[in-house]
Subunit: 343 residues, 2 copies
């Protein structure tokens, strides 16, 4: 049977689509005015338990609780405010970089959209140091074993529910946007978490304040465990905090908390899909809704959005790595442009 | 007293110098074709000691011993081989970024000179995960305290000699190039080091091999503790290793070792200043000289250079952060261009 003109056109269109899908058009070069890294916060302590090995001196001064910050500034000047990305539990700043399946992360995408981008490793995680003295002191018999830090790690099986890949390991939610075929690469991002043994408040909170003041205006984008950090930072000192975006926060401020620090800071709390039915995330969503309700009634410009309500479906807890991560980023940038004043 | 013409000229020159020092000419934009991050290596283990806290499941699978890799590729195609930078003891990939006093690190400088740049965090350090099970098992009484890992930290006072800022804390070597006025920022780079408790060989060595194969040709630039890693990587498998530059290695291969793996890999061992008289570094220099002597007599293209012998003085152990770090980089790039074949 000879092909009709319509058939030929359809075939051409299909082949073109296939070729585009298989060899995506190379992106234009990424043009930066500058990039670099530095630390904020940190203080010196003396320890007599820096080592249990004879070849290293146990006594000495070390610096702890500082926070590693990596930044990139785009060459195009769009007067956009710097974004500070803060990762969650058991993860590091890697969260915001290349996705497990090798697509562009939010670090580069926000840059390409004209935002200066700052990415931190929480204090006592990743490239931010921590104090190992308690472990060495227990090993050398100076402290009882109960003084050991709580250094928890979330296994793949338990993480499955936490990250909402599905209702139970290894089931998947229908229409899940997380690139589950690349889960092996995702598991490599996970690290042990010392946060239960850190000083209270977590040193990252004061470090974020120092960073915000230094940047003289930044939008703090937190995630999960760090979700509440920007609120806690604002409660210390609001200077430099131009906006708060809490992505799937583990907790929100208590509705009975003082709302004064938030009066001049636009706030967005953002959740993905399959939240309400999640035994872990459903109650957290409810608590955040209660906070938002009280905050807005107190005059705070605060919003809570569940992505399905704006027509974006299937997002996991790791929505910055989901297959539609750039669509979610576009939605966020639109929100920023309409709710947070530029420089 | 009126100023003479010479006085006025001197004043003008001095002011010009001051202005230049205070407002350096802005650099041209940094133009990248791509950037991103990924992991190499790693394997799954089962643990029943992931947590001692009731709110986290102690049983589960975690992935450990993988190595975090961040990369940037310049837009200019100069057919230069990718550089892989590997940090040393008690530090992370931060080593190669912005210097403690805020100048450009080798990460950006090598990029600007046309090299694709890969920076790793050694396995079990920084953004590369580690297994905390032993700590939790001791805390919950399943293991004796002697099974705790050796998690050493080098205090500022002991590090002073290790990094060769001076003969003894807090004395300085005359003409020291390290930006000692920014030492506070440098101390913030230091992290605890688990290496004594890691599997032997250190997992980073196999991870580097996987990376070299994946890059299909890279120059491994190691430092201090990691100094010997590229040699150990080559001893497993030479594929992908286009050159080895060991900067102030803590050790060199045994002169009695098999030299076959090194026969087709150009090798440079580089030391800074004040090495011979250092109780720690003098013997290491001697051992490396013995290796180079035996390697060259076996037909290996290997060189050891002490920077003062090529007219560059005052360099500390952290020469990638010294005030003349770009001069040292220029010297290195010249060596690479004359000793390692491009793609």
């Amino acid at each position: 049977m000879p092909l009709t003109k319509t058939h030929r056109l359809l075939l051409t269109l299909t082949l073109t689509t296939l070729i585009h899908a298989q060899s995506p058009k190379p992106l234009p070069p990424l043009i930066l005015s500058t990039q670099g890294s530095f630390f904020v916060g940190g203080h010196d302590i003396h320890s007599d338990a820096l080592s249990t090995l004879p070849r290293y001196v146990p006594d000495g001064t070390i610096t702890v609780d500082q926070m590693y910050v990596h930044y990139q500034i785009p060459a195009t000047k769009l007067h956009r405010l710097p974004i500070t990305f803060i990762h969650g539990c058991c993860l590091t700043g890697k969260t915001w970089e290349t996705t497990p399946d090798g697509r562009m992360g939010w670090d580069e995408y926000f840059l390409r959209r004209g935002f200066p981008v700052y990415i931190v490793d929480q204090a006592d995680r990743g490239r931010s140091s921590l104090d190992p003295s308690a472990i060495n002191a227990v090993k050398s018999g100076k402290l009882p074993t109960m003084q050991l830090p709580d250094l928890f790690f979330v296994g793949h099986e338990a993480a499955w529910q936490v990250f909402r890949f599905g209702p139970d390991y290894p089931q998947l939610f229908p229409g899940l946007q997380f690139p589950i075929e690349a889960q092996t690469e995702f598991w490599k991002q996970m690290v042990p978490d010392w946060s239960p043994s850190l000083p209270n408040p977590n040193p990252t909170i004061a470090d974020l304040s120092e960073l915000a003041i230094r940047l003289n205006g930044t939008i703090l984008i937190s995630h999960s465990q760090s979700g509440i950090f920007p609120f806690q930072t604002a409660a210390i000192y609001t200077k430099g905090i131009a906006g708060i975006i809490a992505i799937e926060p583990g907790s929100c401020p208590d509705p009975k908390a003082d709302m004064k620090p938030f009066l001049h800071i636009p706030i967005l709390v953002l959740f993905g899909d399959n939240v309400e039915t999640s035994p872990r995330w459903g109650p957290r969503l409810k608590a955040c809704q209660a906070f938002i309700k009280f905050a807005t009634s107190s005059g705070v410009k605060a919003t809570l959005v569940q992505l399905p309500d704006v027509g974006i479906h299937g997002n996991s807890h790791m929505l910055m790595q989901d297959k539609n991560n750039l669509q979610v980023a576009d939605w966020l940038i639109h929100w920023i442009d309409h709710n947070i004043l530029p420089r």
